[in-house]
Symmetry: C2
Subunit: 216 residues, 2 copies
Amino acid sequence: MATQTKPVLHGYFRSSCSWRVRIAFALKGIEYDQVPVNLIKDGGQQRTQEYKTLNPMQQVPAVEIDGITLSQSLAVIQYLDETRPGARLLPADPKKRAHVRIISDIIASGIQPLQNLYVIQKIGAEKVQWSQHFIDRGFQALEPLLKQTAGKYCVGDEISMADICLVPQVYNAERFKVDMEQYPTIKRLNQTLLEIDAFKVSHPSNQPDTPADLRA
Amino acid sequence: MATQTKPVLHGYFRSSCSWRVRIAFALKGIEYDQVPVNLIKDGGQQRTQEYKTLNPMQQVPAVEIDGITLSQSLAVIQYLDETRPGARLLPADPKKRAHVRIISDIIASGIQPLQNLYVIQKIGAEKVQWSQHFIDRGFQALEPLLKQTAGKYCVGDEISMADICLVPQVYNAERFKVDMEQYPTIKRLNQTLLEIDAFKVSHPSNQPDTPADLRA
């Protein structure tokens, strides 16, 4: 019997988009191999010609799976959900799916792209205020939305792609010293989710490429 | 027999995210009402308390449909696809769906958020170079990807969400004077798509709130 090849995740321990994919793998119970791409060292290993063939945006993550190479974390997560058994990452109900995607996209299109490494390197000296501004702007929209949609998790009582996006974004917010007391719903959801195994094993403090001084 | 209430699109003629939703409505053959939200006038009508209840991100579009209010254009498009008959906006095959989502997300997360009105107002004097830089960066990634995935349209020979995202982004690129000759595949796809009725009727030059001097 041929052994099924394990998916390969090219990522970086502290990248929030890589963390999203790690959470999805963990929630689905899928074993995978990790190839670290150091975004800082040597001017950024994502800029090599070799990596560019995996992800032409020169960003992490890239995932080799089923004979193809995927990028863009939400595309990867939804591909896993549509091809793998186990816990659903999007609910069956179309209205709930829409709410999951709205929350995910506010983070993935409305917040993260504006405070990622590449952009804040371009912003320069003002990068902390810039990042705080865009995280606060997004969280001020998310807080009232989540008050309406949340149960135990972001949308009702089932873990979904929205939760997968939320926790890494809160981690970034904390790195940029955003005052989380303004967002009690986000804070509560994040605390609940961080207790779950799939969020713990995938945490940036706990990856093969996590530097020793940042290990949990 | 009760009349089904038509969906209401709150949008702006020149907003690329509003245009995406207009294309999706047109491809699905769904009649809808439009409520213009002028992003410039009165400091931006998207900033009113009334609009904020429709979309807490204070961006267009927002769509009232089936008793709920949706925002984030890709969430809206996928909701329409999952609840309405007619032309599929995402292919049935999971690998093709992943490619559609990768292309869509490169635009919706990797390009558009960095050159939208709110961000370039914050950038100030450098806004044209800033926008060109991020559009070029995204198109340099899209061009080789599309060379692999495209047939007549972005992914094979069926129109999809990827095409819905591509055309409005090329429109923005042209506004910012990006040299499209660098991207022959993108240029060819855009020209083909602009001949299709759903892309014509939804065009910014042809909306209820299009100013007279910008009308086709």
